[in-house]
């Protein structure tokens, strides 16, 4: 095969619509805005699960928060009719991810499960992915972080501690996906069961506003949620084809 043929065949392979259909999973999260209370349990759960550093007041004052999932808040109207709505914002694992095209070293790429993965070891820290991401969910390590002993004992051994100069973001708790797949394999199952993977944020959400699963399985809970007429994607007009689907808030006056 000539170089050109090899090249085009690879290109075809990746470009072909339906390339991802061969694979078993397309991980998806649904977020019911009608039940999210903005309580922030998901934020802390993610921080605990994923070794997200404590950045300190000084850094926060500089605008260097590190929270892979954050709660955005939007006010509407004025007193006495003011209303506040919350929207949890995390990496949308876009199927057409703008962040992926720009990374010069392919440190962020799409895997076969539809995850937007981030390879810390490969990242050189150009921060362009963060510029390209319209959801602003990429967080950069502006310095090495420190855990006052013995807080470091809490660090999750299944998750890397990132060094200065690399980008990080929500991974859909890929370590848990990995583990569930291993269990499935050990049990002789081809696929993990619906509900077997629960990212930390989903796991803890007190109002069950977050649901996670495989949208390739039509019977999964997320598939059902996605088919709710309330389902929509944030910034859909940008055609990022995100894997986080929101369910509209219901406007019912008291």
């Amino acid at each position: 095969m000539s170089f050109f043929e090899r090249f085009t065949s690879k290109w075809e392979k990746y470009r072909k619509p339906g390339y991802y259909d061969e694979f078993d999973y397309a991980w998806t999260m649904t977020v019911d805005l009608d039940s999210c209370t903005g309580c922030g349990a998901c934020v802390t759960a993610c921080q605990a699960e994923n070794n997200i550093p404590i950045v300190g007041e000084k850094q926060l004052a500089k605008g260097r928060e590190m929270q892979w999932i954050r709660i955005e808040r939007y006010w509407e109207g004025a007193y006495p009719n003011a209303r506040l709505s919350f929207i949890p914002m995390l990496c949308q694992h876009c199927d057409a991810a703008p962040c992926e095209t720009v990374c010069p070293v392919s440190a962020t790429y799409h895997n076969q499960d539809g995850l937007n993965t981030q390879v810390y070891n490969r990242c050189i820290g150009t921060r362009s992915c963060a510029v390209y991401c319209p959801y602003e969910v990429r967080y950069f390590n502006y310095n090495n972080h420190h855990w006052d002993t013995p807080l470091d004992q809490q660090l999750n051994p299944d998750v890397t501690v990132r060094e200065k100069g690399v980008m990080e973001k929500c991974t859909f708790c890929i370590q848990r996906i990995r583990q569930a797949k291993d269990h499935a394999k050990d049990d002789g199952r081809r696929r993990v069961r619906d509900g077997e993977v629960q990212p930390a944020c989903v796991q803890t959400c007190p109002t069950e506003a977050l649901v996670f699963g495989n949208r390739k399985d039509p019977d999964s809970q997320v598939s059902k949620k996605m088919n709710d007429p309330r389902a929509y994607r944030v910034l859909d007009e940008l055609n990022t084809r995100s894997s986080v689907v929101y369910l509209k808030k219901v406007d019912a006056n008291g």
Binding site: Q59, K62, G63, R64, E65, E72, R73, Y74, M89, P98, T101, V102, C103, P104, V105, S106, R122, C123, I124, G125, T126, R127, S128, A130, V131, Y132, P134, Y135, E136, R138, Y139, F140, N141, Y142, N143, N144, K164, G165, V166, M167, L235, L238
Partner: protein, 455 residues
Amino acid sequence: MLMDKLQYADVNNDIVRSLTVTGKRYYITLGISASLTLLCFFFPWFYQLYYGIGAAGMNHPGVWGTYLASFIFWIGLSHSGTLLSCVLHLTNSEWRKAMYRSAEAMTLFSLMVAATMVMVHVGRPWFIHWAAPYPNQMGMWPNFRSPLLFDVMAIATYLTGSSIFIYMGSIPDFAAVRDRTTGWRHHMYVLMSLGWRGTDTQWHRLNWAYTFLAVLIIPLAVSVHSIVSWDFAMSIVPSLHQTIFAPYFVVGAIYSGTAGIVTVMFVLRKYMNFEQYITKVHFDNLGKLLLVLSLIWTYINMLELFTAWYSGTSTEYEALKYKLFGYYAPLYWEMILFCAVAPLLLISKRFRTSYVPMLILSIAVNIGMYTERFLIVGTSLSRQYLPDAWGVYVPSLVEISILFGSLAMFTTMFLIFVKIFPSVSIYEVKETMHVPTKRPANRPDGEGAAQWQTT
């Protein structure tokens, strides 16, 4: 027509003297700029390498800052040098000849500073080579879809092309210097002149190759800044995602580059005793060029505002509002003043031919153009799609220091350059001179003009 009172020998002597005779003032200047480079550029950078990019003021969402602004600025500055030199070479513009060498040097050094800015900008510069496509055991390649990668390639190509171009154009001069120097200098120029003897075949080949490169470099230069603009325009950040960006960047680049040349020429003229080679004619012509560029630049800027307003979308509109009236609005209006309003003075010939006002204007334009780059990076990232993620980025001391340090680094490189390269092209200046007569003082005007000669 130019340099009426000069003899060929004077040219040689003047220029060789600039290489061999070095005054105290030069050493002091070099010393200062080298120490400033160390102090303002390298020390803060080392600190940043140790601490992390957090030494700069960048944050979330302001992940890009002055380093990238400086990068665009230096790339921009690099433009007029070689590009202008090529265009003028191809159009046989005579007035180019006294200035092109320093202009090309400017290109080279700005590119080098720009490349350094990339190193300063990235979080892990020790792995920067991963952005280069080199064969490796792991089969890991860079991402060829990334505009940043296009950038790496374009800049590398431009740097290579410009280096060859300046070097090639200097070969006859190295030979001339070789013939007038002794000792280690002589040996150095023997090597550098690559055996130049001034034969017809050599001249013929040089001219052919030089013209060929000139033709090649013009599209290259245009593409370089187009590609730099794509780093931004290919994103979907409101106010960056614009089709006009490539021409906008190219024009801006040439604009700031031209202004840079005016500054450099003023300095060379004044402090390297090139009064006779760099004259009002050069300033006049560059002034006209600046005026045209400023008008095009202004037009594109207005277009940008118009499209943002006309789009009617909240995203573009808020970004526009922020630019005009937000945190950095004073800088915006400063930029408009320096780059769109002040250059209108160039309509007056008297202004164009006055050295000091031209110097001031050229500096003002580059301050304005630096501001432009800063605003492109700084304001756009502050106002993206999700208002709850909006934020302000303010540069830190380290960043400001590195910005000034990069100027010092540029100056240092230039100072070293003027002692190695004849900073005014010996042979091409001679080309512009009258055929020498035995008694130059009595030479009647006009006689023997435009007789192109070689050494």
